[in-house]
Amino acid sequence: MELRGITKRFPGVVANHDIDITVRRGTVHALIGENGAGKSTLMKILYGMQKPDEGTITVDGEQVAFHNPGDAIARGIGMVHQHFMLADNLTVLENVVLGSEKLHGIGGRARAKIMEISDAYGLGVRPDALVEDLGVADRQRVEILKVLFRGARTLILDEPTAVLVPQEVDALFDNLRGLKAEGLTVIFISHKLGEVLSVADEITVIRRGTTVGSADPKHTTTKQLAELMVGSELPSPETRESTVTDEPMLVIEGLHLAEFDLEGIERIVLDRISFTIHKGEVLGIAGVEGNGQAELVEAIMGMLPPDAGDLSLDGADITHAPTRKRREDGIGYIPEDRHRHGLLLEAPLWENRILGHVTERPNSKGVLLDPAAARRDTERIVREYDVRTPGIEVTAASLSGGNQQKLIVGREMSHLPKLLIASHPTRGVDVGAQAQIWDQIREARREGLAVLLISADLDELIGLSDTLRVMYRGRLVADADPATITPEELGSAMTGAASGHLEHGENAGGEDR
């Protein structure tokens, strides 16, 4: 498959320009680039979800034009999305045949076909299992099977490892090698360099919407790749000199929360969680998403009332304080989902600067807003935090993700928080802004800020944290010293395979699971 001179413009931005890629049959071809470099747009073009403004796509020597994903699948190109598109309450078989009932029926023939594919590529899929009972890695295999079932010979995987722990990543790579051995082509999108080097046969690097080079994984190091990807030296989240004091800032005691699902079965979301963050300390929480981190954050913010447990901030009990009081008392909040919890997308930037701090200066005097002061202070944040915007009257929606995040960080830091809750603070943020956000967290920590850091980026966690905890099924199952731990060791605790205190190099942890 060949792509020549692909250009795609969106209102205001050129997402892709002059992209040239050649993918050879029977290889794993990696496409790497930072967030926002234009990888996803390119994939959407390949998969027929968007049409390029210029350029040609050639498949097996024949020029093609895809108008919709159906055209692409007819040409044998299938997409495995980053966010799974499966119906939880159906079985694997039902999910696979859904929408392509005409291919092999919905009964025995389809089942035989599924087993045939599953065995051929070692996917190990059980057709009658309910999807809701499957783990993330199994669901991903179902997604891959779905695409193969429809006759794809070229698979596009969009950041397939984002949701997996290291061990599951290895299993996935084995599957990919199996596919390759059968003559299938895999296009693998990622920004995790180590993974790319271990699985890819060829690598194409995309930067700022265009292809900037290709690399041979046998003769390239992650550092070289990263520099190609960023165009300069990589920043690192490294923070070593300790600023941890022994004065507790946030003390959590026995935080417990249970939820009932639709069938009325009790599910423990937070299982008697206790920890203390001291002034000047960054406590990092590792864990696969969905193990209670979001609920923990919402409980600390006062958005989700827990069933039991006590919280105190800087010596004062805040167990029953409403969210606003907690914010006024000095909890800063960088939410995981900035669109849902951090911004009013259709409001101008200066109103977004007020959000969450409406009772504090300079936003208001008494019960009245002070729009003039809020506007002035927004100008300052835009300047000091390098928010790229033509002005403060534009809506938050018109900024890019990284600039939205910088605005949020600037807003929260402007109120000199005592405790900062940072949920995935650099997700979807470009490398420049990432380094800046890390700097700000480090600087504030030096001045006695306590930080609760939750992140899926293990390098970020290990690099920034003074203390590490691992969260698994609502419990803090393990702790580790960020100075010695490796991402792999952390990863194994994230699957629940190890617990207790994780020591580097040894057979980690007490066997109390």
């Binding site: 606003r324 849902r340 919890h341 009013l344």
Partner: protein
């Protein structure tokens, strides 16, 4: 930056103008199909609508519609659809009329008493829907529709001789006991032929200013708007969304309670079977057309009153007066569509502009560096 602002204003008025233009067009087509001359009809409307006595009528009706529009707009600003303004204002007006007819206080006490009763009853009636929504998750749309029906029957029950009803001298009409003259609000006399402008128009203007001030300039207003823009972000910012739902329902209901006041204090002085109904629904149309903006709602209220005024004249001139209903319906439909179109266009346009300006900035910087 100035440019974007100007554009935003332009876009803001583009939608309602578009909607009105479309409705005139559709109405013209309907008239043509029924074999009538559309331009004759329009010229009758404009000639008649701008006569002095029509203007007085439009201002009076507009006052009522304006308050109804504001009551609905408060809810709209936080994504609450208070369809119950109709029931709330009838309940408010009815009990205010009953209390006002039962006591006789000096003017400066009588009128505030009537107004306060109306606001309290309207607020309470809306508060039921607010409580149901916050405590039981019942959609306010369903609850307020039901409450409208209940209001009709509650009033019908009490509006009988021997209860709160009062038979007039001719023994033909039932109403509440008429207010004593201390319950009459002043009017502006516009001359023998033109009639009187309700004094309540002054209060309506003050309400508009208060609406603008509270929503745009206070912490409370910011919280309310934040809930309307994103419930989840507002919750995370420290707003108690449930309490805000209840509070804004109470405010919306209290405003709705005032809707009947121009009629009660300035004109009818009693609540009878002929008391206007359906004004709450006009409020919905007017709030939609006016974009929940205090000035926009005022213009929309006046337009609605204008259309209604001219419909009677159309009837005289042998046109079907229902054509005005068609017009109003089309305005509401097209305004909803036009807003969405203009909103999306505006967002896209702004994203594009921001992108362009940033690209230009980056280019300048590079040139400076080079």
């Amino acid at each position: 930056m100035k440019k974007i602002d100007k554009e935003r204003v332009l876009l803001a008025i583009a939608a309602p103008l578009l909607a009105i233009a479309v409705s005139f067009l559709v109405t013209a087509l309907v008239l043509l199909v029924t074999g009538k001359q559309p331009f004759d009809a329009f010229s009758i409307m404009f000639d008649y609508g701008f006569k002095s006595d029509s203007q007085v009528y439009i201002l009076d009706k507009g006052t009522t519609y304006y308050i109804a529009g504001l009551a609905v707009a408060v809810g709209f600003r936080m994504n609450l659809f208070n369809i119950g303004v109709d029931g709330q204002y009838r309940m408010g007006a009815f009990f205010a009329a009953a209390v006002g007819g039962a006591v006789s206080l000096p003017n400066f006490l009588q009128i505030p008493l009537i107004i306060v009763v109306a606001m309290l009853v309207g607020g309470m009636w809306a508060g039921i829907a607010g409580l149901l929504k916050t405590k039981r998750g019942v959609s306010e749309v369903i609850a307020t529709i039901m409450l409208n029906a209940i209001a009709t029957n509650v009033i019908a029950y009490f509006l009988q001789p021997g209860r709160l009803g009062h038979l007039d001298k001719a023994q033909t009409q039932v109403s509440t006991t008429p207010l004593p003259s201390s319950g009459y609000l002043f009017n502006f006399d516009m001359g023998e032929l033109n009639g009187e402008i309700y004094g309540f128009i002054v209060i309506a203007v003050l309400l508009g200013i208060a609406y603008w001030f509270v929503l745009g300039r206070t912490r409370f207003g910011f919280d309310l708007r934040a809930v309307g823009l994103s419930e989840s972000a507002a919750e995370a910012s420290g707003v108690s969304v449930k309490r805000m739902v209840l509070t804004s329902m109470l405010i919306s209901g209290a405003l709705a309670g005032l809707v009947g006041m121009p009629t009660l204090l300035n004109d009818a002085h009693k609540f009878g079977t002929e008391f206007p109904a359906g004004v709450g629904f006009v409020g919905i149309s007017v709030a939609l057309l006016g974009r929940n903006n205090p000035i926009g709602v005022a213009l929309a209220a006046l337009l609605w009153a204008f259309l209604e005024r001219t419909s009677t004249q159309l009837d005289f001139e042998d046109f079907d007066k229902e054509i005005v209903g068609v017009m109003q319906g089309v305005i509401v439909l097209s305004v909803v569509i036009a807003y969405e179109v203009v909103r999306r266009y505006g967002l896209r346009r702004q994203q594009q502009k921001v992108g362009e300006e940033l690209a230009a900035q980056a280019k300048n910087k590079q040139e400076v560096a080079a």
